[in-house]
């Protein structure tokens, strides 16, 4: 990837993660990994976010929240599922309260495996997400 055209803003939501992936997502923002050098900022507001980062699997209580957050984000948007829980349910897939990976409720663009996903692979996933974001942007412009 050469230059990113935008500074993408992240929205992080913890679906039902064990915190392992969560704190690795946060670790990406802090000095050692520092994703801010790519112009990436963590925001708390879905209306300003370009990339939705979800950790953890989806359950009955939070599936509405996940859907709502996704719908509130403006187009174009990218969803990155972080951790094996978010990809498929992982070790918890047999639990009675787990519906499965994030893709059971919203479309997912990038899957980041690992339990817990490492900061390096999370950053890689987000950078891949940037590519998808640009692609979607281009498509939107062509359709206009």
């Amino acid at each position: 990837m050469s230059y990113a055209k935008r500074s993408p803003w992240l929205l992080h939501y913890d679906a039902s993660s064990c915190n392992g992936c969560d704190i690795e997502v946060l670790a990406c923002l802090t000095p050692v990994y520092d994703v801010e050098r790519f112009g990436i900022i963590n925001t708390g507001d879905p209306k300003q976010a370009d990339i939705l980062l979800i950790t953890g699997a989806v359950n009955d209580q939070n599936k509405e929240v996940v859907k709502q957050l996704y719908e509130q984000m403006p187009e174009p948007k990218v969803v990155v599922a972080v951790g094996i829980c978010a990809c498929s349910g992982g070790i918890f897939r047999d639990c009675y309260n787990i519906l499965g990976g994030v893709d059971t409720v919203i479309p997912v663009d990038v899957y980041v495996p690992g339990c817990a996903a490492r900061p390096e692979s999370i950053i890689d996933g987000v950078v891949k997400g940037l590519g998808v974001l640009e692609e979607k942007q281009r498509k939107m412009e062509a359709e206009r």
Partner: protein, 359 residues
């Protein structure tokens, strides 16, 4: 008297890394009542005992929470060892203390960072997390994982420390202590931190006892209920509980600052006196009929593990009672009558771990 309004707080909120929902009933700016509702992270992992045998269940139990993951592994394996009547080697006990205390260092630094973030003190947040990475580097070097370690197993621990590794951990402890001298000073003396924390959300000693608080919340109100005091091994490495009497947000914060330094000392003492010998004993066969309970002082407070054997390889029941669960009534009590601006501080200072609470 103003009109009552209800303000929802969460489940997705910038001050919280985890989803918890509070309905705050306000009169002007003052909170009259706070009603918590949970369940966003519930997975139901205790029921997995039916599909995993007691050994592989360790991996599930470690994922009760990724921050104090080692402690959950220890609590669960400790309970299973008790049920099976196994005594683990001394060296394993010491290694467990080393890793548990290192986990406490990383957990408290993580929390101090989140507190600084909540205060809007970004550079302090970054410094705390920078220091914390040093612990994670050691974890990665020994176990291969940064947050989920899988270091405990039923019967002991999985990997021995080489003398070079011991040396590396000791010098890392010295390094962090040096960092903490400066960072801890900011929490102790900086006026913007003190203005926000001192006198906020006071929990009296009587209330703390009545509401059965645990961990730094209780110790910040002067209640000594650290379960490490009851452990023979912890007494050997010279453990003393850290207590503060004020009961406000600041004293809960200082308990954690002091515990970081204390844990570093415990780690160094344990490594200096590390006994020789095996690191694990083999454990085989089905779990006998019976039950056993085990307690561990997690970074957030006492956690209680209960296992029940039914004569097969799968346990009949494995249960955890986690510290945040116990501290939520105290949070609700301190929220009553507080200012709306202080809500995020009060929620943060009990160090909620929702993933533990709901499992």
């Amino acid at each position: 008297m103003g009109k009552r309004t209800i303000v929802p707080f969460g489940p997705q909120h910038p001050a919280l890394p985890e989803p918890v929902h509070l309905d705050l009933e306000l009169e002007d700016e003052t909170v009259v009542r706070a009603v918590p509702s949970i369940g966003y992270v519930h997975r139901g992992l205790e029921k997995l005992t039916e599909s995993y045998d007691y050994e592989s269940m360790t991996y599930v139990m470690e994922r009760v929470c990724g921050i104090c993951s080692f402690g959950h592994g220890w609590g669960y394996t400790g309970a299973v060892e008790g049920l099976m009547g196994v005594n683990i080697p001394d060296r394993a006990e010491y290694l467990r203390i080393v890793f548990h205390e290192l986990s406490r260092v990383h957990s408290h630094l993580l929390w101090l960072g989140l507190l600084a973030d909540g205060l809007g003190f970004d550079s302090l947040f970054m410094h705390c997390w920078r220091i914390r990475e040093k612990v994670l580097d050691v974890f990665e070097a020994v176990t291969g994982g940064r947050v989920i370690l899988s270091y405990c197993k039923v019967g002991g621990v999985k990997k021995d420390l080489t003398p070079e590794m011991v040396q590396r951990i000791v010098s890392m402890c010295d390094d962090i202590e040096e960092d903490m001298r400066r960072t801890g000073y900011v929490f102790m003396k900086d006026s913007s931190v003190r203005n926000r924390l001192c006198g906020t959300g006071v929990l009296s000693k009587e209330d703390a006892v009545e509401l059965c608080c645990v961990g730094p919340v209780a110790r910040g109100s002067g209640v000594d209920n650290d379960v490490r005091s009851a452990s023979k091994w912890y007494r050997e490495v010279g453990f003393e509980p850290v207590l503060y009497d004020e009961g406000d947000c600041w004293s809960r914060c200082m308990v954690r600052v002091d515990e970081v330094v204390q844990s570093l000392n415990l780690v160094r003492t344990a490594l200096r006196n590390l006994p020789d010998g095996d690191i694990a004993v083999p454990v085989k066969g089905p779990a006998p009929v019976g039950d056993f309970a085990f307690r561990v002082e997690q970074p957030r407070g006492e956690a209680f593990y209960y296992v029940q054997g039914n004569g097969t390889k799968n346990l009949g029941r494995a249960r955890v009672r986690t510290p945040t669960n116990i501290n939520i009534p105290a949070m609700v009590r301190t929220l009553q009558g507080c200012n709306l601006q202080d809500v995020s501080m009060l929620v943060i200072t009990i160090d909620p771990c929702i993933s533990c609470t709901e499992r």
